[in-house]
């Protein structure tokens, strides 16, 4: 997995509350069998009109935000469906981090699996970064090791689980990590109760 350390770049503001994963990537883009190429499907119904033409006013279609790396969302980002395609479309579109005040529980885990950093800010800080993102000239620096986020003169801190942080900084593959516990898994497995269902 891609390691995460210091993220620097432009912000794009999308200050809507409760952006669910159906909005991040609509269902018609879930029919693939690979993880790649989903960037153009990101926020498809907001980024395109009903004829499939680009909506020029949608923030991510505006040329001044073309290189944005940090999405500044409204509160409660990524609720709903478990579709990891939402995260794949964000990373494919060039995003390295999402700012919100809380994240949907499955999306949050999906972010960690793909080196996309969900930054949980208190409401006041989220409002501040939303305002800063409104000027495309502003950039942001997210320092994961020190858990600080800075844009211009404004700096805030954010919380993240210490173990998740280690994983992200080192780019550890979670399956590799778990397989190091093979002995523990085998021991547990041999003692499972006999009434648990087994197929076949």
């Amino acid at each position: 997995m891609k390691a995460v350390n210091i993220i620097e770049g432009q912000m794009a503001p999308l200050p809507r509350a409760n952006i669910d994963t159906d909005q991040v990537i609509p269902k018609q883009f879930l029919k693939g069998v690979t993880r790649t190429g989903l960037g153009p499907s990101l926020f498809y119904n907001w980024a395109h009109d009903e004829e499939g033409e680009l909506e020029p006013d949608f923030v991510l279609n505006r040329p001044e935000y073309a290189g944005a790396k940090v999405l500044v969302a409204g509160p409660n980002f990524g609720s709903g469906s478990s579709r990891e395609h939402a995260v794949w479309s964000l990373t494919d579109a060039g995003f390295d981090a999402i700012l919100s005040s809380s994240f949907g529980p499955i999306l949050e885990n999906n972010c960690y699996q793909n080196g996309l950093l969900p930054v949980v800010l208190v409401d006041e800080d989220l409002e501040r970064f939303t305002a800063l993102a409104a000027d495309p000239a502003n950039t942001v620096t997210i320092d994961l090791p020190t858990q600080r986020i800075t844009s211009g003169e404004y700096t805030a801190s954010f919380d993240i689980d210490a173990h998740v942080k280690d994983r992200l900084i080192n780019g550890w593959d979670q399956i590799d990590m778990t397989l190091q516990s093979e002995d523990d898994i085998a021991t547990y497995e041999s003692a499972r109760p006999g009434h648990r269902p087994v197929i076949g």
Binding site: R16, A17, N18, D20, D22, Q23, P26, K27, Q28, L30, K31, G32, V33, T34, R35, N45, E50, G74, P75, N76, S79, G80, S81, S82, R83, E84, V87, S102, G104, P105, I106, L107, N109, N110, Q113, N114, D161, A162, H163, Q174, I175, M177, T178, L179, S181, D184, I185, Y188, E189, R192, P193, G194, H195, R196, P197, V198, I199, G200
Partner: protein, 468 residues
């Protein structure tokens, strides 16, 4: 004396394979449910890394999300959906996983077939690459939705590293009023705690209103835990649970049943167990609800009116309401019962079990679907469909003018051909009224099965209590 434990404590502790300070616990997965949309990249990952599936005998797969609900004998016409269905069939054959294909009578929505076959049992840890996995919590199982990377993790290791969620007790006491269903109960709970009110928790639904529910009703309640942002939702097992399970294919039998029963009876939260948070509600506050907005907390009694955004004190909720009313093409103050509908979708892992189909059929009483309404019934599984046909329910629906389809997720997420057109207004028994969920520009109103059928007959939302 031993510290009183919650059901979460008990089920969690029993599945810990490895625990270390500062790290998530490694939990053993008792059953992994797999479907065609969130698994192909996981199997691809296994192939790339050369890893086998550790426990194909603790995995089961089906197709549900993208398959057609009509004309299946002709195959899957959408080429991409066909590729996905072929991929899961091939992957399951290669790894020895039991697979219910599109023409297998046992095929159905993944969360309906688990309980149906007795694969969902109290105290289990169940995962699936689907957010409505919490459905299985109705049996006192800890069941959580995961993403595709975690599907790959479970396939490779049969475990999942997780930090323990907090515990949230939601107690609803009292009798459900006339016309109020399990669907109204969970919608009322989501309105009470908000769409992320359950964040970071496993909800334990308790109280006499919950205990009085059938297993089907309990599944409806637990199903929508994710709509309150919760990691999981569950209900303590009791006689209703055991009665439902006994005799099902994978349920224990004989001496194993007795042993299992003793264990199951040990699972409910101990008296005096402390929850991180508690919410208490009274069933008398509930009514038949209809959603008016674009998230499941935006609901109103069927006898009520579309609320004004100004009635919300929280500025975020107010903004959300303004945007929702604009998308839903509704005006504040309109009576809910005055809103005409174009479509009815009766299906989904929330409300497509046999009890739901029976309850809907009872509403019909010889009436017919309103001429301006197109209404479809999508049973949750092939076996539910067969049971309904044995009971003659299909005839009641068809004679009333409903379409009688094959099993699948269908218009709950509209990945197949069952899609709303822009501007079409739909009474839906599903779980999400998000923008575009049932089709771009489609206008979804969440209701119970009874309310959906009543709306189909009347052509607009109507109070089920007037028909009973």
């Amino acid at each position: 004396m031993k510290q009183p434990q919650t059901m979460l404590d008990k089920v969690w502790d029993e599945h810990v394979v490895r625990s270390a300070p500062g790290e998530p616990d490694l939990l053993y997965v008792d059953m992994h449910l797999i479907h065609e949309v969130t698994s192909p990249q996981a199997f691809e990952g296994l192939a790339i890394s050369g890893r086998p599936v550790r426990r194909p005998d603790l995995s089961i797969a089906t197709v549900d999300h993208g398959i057609p609900t009509v004309g299946r004998e002709l195959g899957i016409s959408d080429p991409l959906s066909r590729l996905q269905a072929e991929a899961i069939e091939r992957n399951c054959a290669e790894h020895g996983i039991l697979f219910f294909g599109v023409n297998d009578i046992r095929q159905g929505i993944v969360h309906i077939i688990g309980p149906e076959h007795g694969l969902t049992q109290p105290g289990m840890f169940i995962v699936c690459g689907d957010s409505h996995t919490s459905t299985h919590g109705a049996f006192g199982a800890l069941a959580i939705g995961i993403g595709t990377s975690e599907v790959e993790h479970v396939l490779a290791t049969q475990t999942l590293p997780r930090s323990k969620p907090g515990s949230l007790a939601i107690t609803v006491d009292g009798d459900l009023p006339l016309g109020v269903t399990a669907k109204d109960l969970i919608l009322g709970i989501i309105r009470e705690i908000g769409v992320n009110g359950g964040y970071g928790t496993a909800i334990e639904y308790r109280g006499t209103a919950v205990e009085s529910l059938s297993m089907e009703g309990r599944m409806t309640v637990c199903n929508m835990s994710i709509e309150a942002g919760a990691t999981a939702g569950f209900i303590a097992p009791d006689a209703t649970t055991y009665e439902y399970m006994e005799g099902r294919e994978y349920a224990p039998s004989g001496a194993q049943w007795d042993g299992a029963l003793a264990y199951w009876e040990s699972l409910p939260s101990d008296t005096g167990a402390e929850f991180d948070r508690e919410v208490v509600m009274d069933a008398s506050e509930l009514a038949p609800f209809v959603s008016w907005g674009t998230n499941p907390s935006q609901i109103v009694e069927v006898t009520g009116t579309i609320p004004s955004p100004d009635s919300f004190a929280d500025p975020l909720e107010r903004d959300s309401a303004i945007r929702a009313l604009e998308y839903m093409d509704l005006e504040a103050g309109t009576a809910m019962s005055a809103i005409p509908i174009d479509r009815v979708f009766f299906g989904s892992c929330t409300n497509a079990r046999i009890e739901d189909l029976r309850a809907g059929a009872e509403v019909i009483q010889g009436r017919t679907v309103h001429p301006d309404v197109e209404a479809m019934i999508v049973p949750g599984s092939g076996l539910v469909k067969m049971q309904a046909e044995e009971e003659g329910l299909d005839r009641i629906y068809k004679e009333a003018g409903f379409e009688w389809r094959d099993a699948g997720c269908s218009m709950c997420l509209a990945m197949n051909e069952d899609v709303l057109s822009p501007g079409e207004r739909c009474a839906s028994t599903s779980n999400r009224n998000f923008e575009g969920r049932q089709g771009r520009g489609g206008l979804t109103h969440l209701v119970s099965p009874q309310m959906a059928v009543a709306a189909a007959l009347a052509g607009h939302f109507t109070d089920i209590r007037d028909l009973q």
